[in-house]
């Protein structure tokens, strides 16, 4: 028995004498413990390193804001010692679901005003301000293997096109643009947020994806952008919604509308008021 235990160098096996079910169960238990451990780390990760005087602002934001908000939060923390901005990015619809289910958050930034519709009005404290706006653009791998030069090319059956799911703002906007252009795109996958959509192009698995102009700018040389004509393109206004009256939150919300923050947004391809 002892020799059997030592046969699994990773020590996952446990007591082999309990038989098949026990053996597999012990492996499962180890896997489960690992999974729980990982989940535990990510949940408590934000708490670590918080001194007693540290002021924390929790921001839930649309995926497309990943690069710009990360940069703005760094700027803010650098100029406001003792503050800690915690960012979490997901599809706007996911953010709204999280807030409605009671997720702790001080600020919410969403892609498009319609995404804010289902947000629980009871949680909104400070009203809504316009953070930035964004338009759609086609992203292709740098070499453009599918030879995509216009939105009408997306209907070619040999092409692998990836869109956001219709439940998330980028998918809803892409569907509108395609419908206005009269194009039935040859879609192979509907991804759950815009960064996952972009990733399929960055990895070279898809020939084209409809994402935001800001995503194409942030991705730099890793993708190539193909313009969508203004006549069919969609513009999304990003509302910034405050959920608490905490002073640090108000300070960060004000900072997000400053010239310094707007420059970061413009550098990443957003339009600012």
């Amino acid at each position: 028995m002892r020799s059997q235990v030592s046969r699994v160098p990773f020590g996952l096996s446990g007591d082999v004498s309990v038989g098949v079910a026990g053996r597999v169960a012990s492996h499962t238990a180890a896997a489960l413990a690992l999974a729980l451990g990982v989940a535990g780390c990510s949940a408590s990760g934000g708490e670590s390193g918080n001194g007693p005087t540290r002021h924390t602002v929790v921001v839930l934001a649309a995926s497309s804001l990943t690069e710009s908000l990360t940069a703005i939060a760094k700027d803010f923390e650098a100029t406001h010692p003792g503050t800690d901005v915690q960012l979490s990015f997901a599809a706007s619809s996911t953010v709204v679901t999280q807030v409605n289910q009671g997720a702790p958050a001080d600020l919410v930034a969403l892609a498009g005003t319609s995404a804010a519709g289902p947000l629980d009005a009871k949680r909104i404290v400070g009203g809504s301000r316009s953070l930035a706006s964004n338009t759609l653009e086609i992203a292709t791998p740098p070499g453009n293997p599918g030879k995509v030069d216009a939105i009408t090319d997306l209907s070619r059956p040999t092409l692998k096109v990836v869109l956001c799911a219709a439940t998330v703002p980028c998918g809803e906007a892409a569907a509108k643009a395609l419908s206005l252009a009269g194009v039935a795109a040859h879609v192979v996958s509907y991804e759950t947020n815009v960064k996952a959509t972009l990733a399929k192009v960055q990895l070279g698995e898809a020939d084209a994806a409809i994402v935001y102009h800001s995503d194409v700018v942030s991705a730099g040389a890793r993708v190539r952008g193909v313009q969508i004509p203004a006549s069919v393109n969609q513009t999304l206004d990003y509302p910034l919604i405050r959920l608490t009256d905490d002073p640090t939150t108000i300070e960060f919300a004000t900072f997000l509308l400053s010239d310094q923050a707007r420059k970061r947004l413009r550098d990443n391809g957003f339009l600012t008021p």
Binding site: R7, V20, A21, V24, H27, T167, Y190, E191, T192
Partner: protein, 260 residues
Amino acid sequence: MRSVRWARAGLVIPAWVAIAVLLVPLLALLLKADWAGIPAHLANPTVVPALRLSLLTTSSTLVICALIGTPLAWLLARSTHRATPWLRALVTVPLVLPPVVGGVALLMAYGREGVVGRTLLEVAGWSIPFTPVAVVFAEVFVALPFYVLAVEGAMQGLDPRYDGLAATLGASPWRTFRTVVVPMVAPGIASGAALAWARALGEFGATITFAGNFPGRTQTAPLAVYVALESDPQAAIALSLVMLLISVVILGALRGRWLR
């Protein structure tokens, strides 16, 4: 006496906490369901194709696991080679790996730009991602370790003298494997198959990463639940209940005969 009672409470209370941890979410699912509306929610156009795809891909996964996993289990159980323990450890890696990481690894291997996938595209003009085949790849990757470890455990418990006896009666190793070993470890194979199938049915991370999400083609039931949660939560609950029911029925059917 008192200390015994306290010791027992010390075990019984955490045990009940454990039961609550497992049961509360499942009961909540039952309580929150709009039972009268379930038939209508199941008529949601994504539900039936997702269930069909899940059943199709998980049964393919099971066949592949049995065909390639049983010989590997036999190898691990009987080989005395120095490398065997390392091989066994390798088999357990996908078991503890986050499924999303498995999906990324599959893309690196079989994606259009992948180590194997690039050649496949050049030679066959075909790529695996975004196809039901990719779903099966993802499911086999995560489910095979469960199958192999369960079957190997059963084979470990099989007295090697049976093999020797069969050999002295003139049976070839292949015939011994087929007519002696496999029938004798049938309970182990059944429990391994049940575990592997359950793991494949629940597969999410590797599937969405490697196969994408397209209704009817790569959107399995767990993916449909995830997507529906934002647009039609009651459809997500209805589909979850169907998956719960299928799992309970299959495990219940196996329990009496095979699982202890």
